[in-house]
Amino acid sequence: MSTTSASASAPAAGFDPVPVRRSPLARFTKRATRHPGFMAGAVLLAVILVLSIGAPLFTAHDPYAQDISRRLIPPVWHDKGSWEHWLGTDKLGRDYFARLLYGGRISLMIGAATVLLSGIIGTALGVAAGFFGGRVDMVIGYIINVRLALPVVLVALAVAALVGTSLNTVIVVLGLLLWDRFAVVARSTTQQIAHADFVGAARAIGCSTRLIVFSEVLPNILNPLIVVATLEMAHAILLEAALSFLGLGVQPPLPSWGLMISEGKQYMFFSPWVITIPGVALVALVLGINLLGDGLRDVTAPDNRS
C-alpha cells in the first residue's frame, strides 16, 4: 500500500499539504538519541576516550614505575587491596589502573591508525572497481579474493616476526590486511551511485572522472564506509590484543591490554583479576565501538523500516 509509506514530504493529515522538513543534522540527532544501542556505545566510548586521553588527570601513578616490594597487590575489593592501587599492581609492582589508562591510548591509536590506512586502501580499490567496472572490477575482485584467502593472524604474526615487532609494525601490517570489507562495501555502493542519474548528468556536462569521484561518489558512499570503519576499528583492536598476547605485537614495557593479559597469564590461577581487568576493558571498548557502528548504520539508513 502506497499510503502506508507516507513520507515526511506528504501532506500531514487530510487535504492540506503541510510539508515537514528538518535539517539533516537535526534528523540525525533525533534518530540517534532515540537509538539506545547508539547512545550506549557513544557513552561507553566517550568514557574510555576521556579516561585514556586524560590519563594523567585520573591517576598520579607512572605506568612504567616498577616497585618489586609491591608485586601483585589485589584490587581494592579484595581483603588485601588498598585505595593506593585500587586496581592492584602487576608482577613488577606497576600500578594496574595507570597501565590500564595508558594502555587504552595504545588500543585507540592502533584502531584509528589501522582503519585510516586500511580505509584508504580499501576505499580506493572499491571505488575504482565499482566506478570503472569491467576488467578493473575483475582484477580488483580477484585481489580481494586473494586477500580473503590469506589467514590474517598467521600472516600478521609471520610478518611481525620477520620485520621486527613494534607498534608501527602492528599498525602497518593490520592496515595492509584489513581493507577487504572497505573494498567490498565501497565497490557495491559505488556501483549503485555510478548508475544514478546525477552521475550520468555530471558525465554529460563533461565533469572529469576525478571530480565525479570526489564530489559525487565519495560523499554518497561515506555513511556505509563510516560504519565499516567503526567495525574494522574494533576488529583491529581485537587483533592487536591477540598479536600482543602471542608476543608478536606491542612489546614490553608498553602497556597494551593484550600484553597485560599475556603477562598476567601465569598468575591467573591465584590472581585471576590480572587478566579479568584488562579483559573487561577490552570488551568494554570493543563493545562501545560496535554498538556505535551498528547504531550508526541504523541511524544513517535512508529510511527507517519499521
Binding site: 500500500m1 502506508t4 500531514a12
Partner: protein, 325 residues
C-alpha cells in the same frame, strides 16, 4: 444466509506519523455463485480489505468490524487455529504476484499437495492425482510432469494457473483473487480471467475479485464495490453501477476508462484532477470532496449512505445526476 457478510470493516495501521485509517467502515455481502469486484486505485484499501477477510493483514494493522461472518462463522471471534483451519480449506486466496508467491525451494507438486494434505486425510498419491486433475482443469498441459518442476521453471502465466489450482485443492466456498492478472502479459490476462469466471461458475463458489481494471469488472463481476480512500463510496449490481453511476468518483472513473460500447472512438478520455488525501489522522466528511467539481459545504459533514435501487448504494450527499454523454 449470505456466504460472506461484512459490516463496517475498519483497518487502522499505526505509523510513525500517526494512525493511518486505511479502511474505514466498509460493508458488503456476497452470495454463493456471485462475483464481487472491489475496485479502486492503489491505496484505496481494497487489497487490505481482502487480506482482512483471510486474517492475513500485516501484524501491526488493527482490524475492527461490527460483524464479519463467513457462512455464519464469526470471523472476528475466530481464533488463530480456527482461521488456519478455514484458510486454504473453505476460503482460498490468489495473489497479485505469481512470480514471487510460490516458494522457490519446493516443487510445484509439493506446494500443491501440501494445501490438500493440510486439511484432508488423503494419501500422497491421492493428493497428487487431485493436483494433476486441477492443473489440467486450469489449462496446464503435461500436468503430471509439471509436478516435479520448480516455480522458476514456469512462466508468470503458468505460475498464476498453479496458484489458482492451489486455491482449488480443497474446493473452497470462497476464492479471493487480489489483482490476479496485474503482473501478467495482456494476452494472458484475459485467459486467466475467463478461467476464474468459468471455475467460479462450475464450482458455484463466491468470488471476490480485487482490481483497478474496470474492463475486468464489466466482463466478470456480478456485483461491484467502488472504494476510495479507504471508504466504500458506491456499490451495487454491475448493470446498475455501470449503467447509472451515481457517485461523482465512480462517474469520473468511468469517464477515465474506455468501456466497450460506451466510449466512442476518438473521444478524449476524462481525468480526475487532484490527489488522494493522506489517510493519517482523522478525516471528516467526504474524502473525495477536494477533487469533486460539485462539492459543497455539506460535503464536510458526515456522509450518510443512500439507497438508489435494489442493492445499489452510495455515500454522497448530492443528488445523482446522469452522466454527461
Amino acid at each position: 444466509m449470505p456466504l460472506l457478510d461484512v459490516d463496517h470493516l475498519t483497518i487502522e495501521i499505526p505509523t510513525e506519523a500517526g494512525l493511518l485509517h486505511a479502511v474505514n467502515g466498509v460493508s458488503f455481502t456476497l452470495e454463493r455463485g456471485e462475483t464481487l469486484a472491489i475496485v479502486g486505485e492503489s491505496g484505496s484499501g481494497k487489497s487490505l480489505t481482502s487480506l482482512a477477510l483471510m486474517d492475513l493483514l500485516p501484524s501491526r494493522a488493527v482490524r475492527k468490524a461490527r460483524s464479519m461472518r463467513f457462512d455464519g462463522i464469526d470471523l472476528m471471534a475466530a481464533g488463530r487455529r480456527e482461521m488456519e483451519d478455514l484458510r486454504g480449506d473453505r476460503m482460498a486466496m490468489i495473489f497479485q504476484e505469481p512470480m514471487t508467491s510460490l516458494n522457490p525451494a519446493y516443487t510445484v507438486g509439493d506446494q500443491l499437495t501440501e494445501a490438500l494434505r493440510r486439511h484432508r486425510p488423503v494419501s500422497r498419491a491421492e493428493a497428487r492425482d487431485r493436483a494433476v486433475h486441477l492443473l489440467e482443469r486450469v489449462g496446464i498441459t503435461a500436468a503430471a510432469s509439471r509436478l516435479g518442476q520448480y516455480p522458476h521453471q514456469l512462466s508468470g502465466g503458468l505460475r498464476q494457473r498453479v496458484m489458482i489450482a492451489m486455491g482449488l485443492m480443497c474446493e473452497p466456498d470462497l476464492i479471493i483473487a487480489d489483482e490476479p492478472t496485474t503482473a501478467l502479459d495482456v494476452t494472458i490476462q484475459a485467459q486467466i480471467l475467463m478461467l476464474l469466471r468459468d471455475i467460479q461458475r462450475e464450482f458455484g463458489m463466491g468470488l471476490i475479485l480485487v482490481t483497478h481494471d474496470l474492463g475486468v469488472v464489466a466482463r466478470v463481476a456480478t456485483k461491484v464495490a467502488v472504494m476510495y480512500a479507504g471508504r466504500l463510496i458506491e456499490t451495487g449490481p454491475v448493470e446498475a453501477v455501470f449503467g447509472a453511476p451515481s457517485h461523482p468518483y465512480t462517474q469520473g472513473l468511468l469517464r477515465a476508462i474506455p468501456v466497450p460500447g460506451r466510449t466512442r472512438p476518438g473521444e478524449p478520455l476524462g481525468t480526475i484532477p487532484g490527489q488522494v488525501p493522506n489517510l493519517i489522522g482523522p478525516l471528516a466528511g467526504c474524502a473525495f470532496r477536494n477533487r469533486c467539481d460539485r462539492a459543497t459545504e455539506a460535503c464536510a459533514a458526515a456522509i450518510p449512505e443512500r439507497d438508489l435501487g435494489p442493492g445499489h448504494r452510495m455515500a454522497c450527499v448530492l443528488d445523482p445526476v446522469a452522466v454527461p454523454a
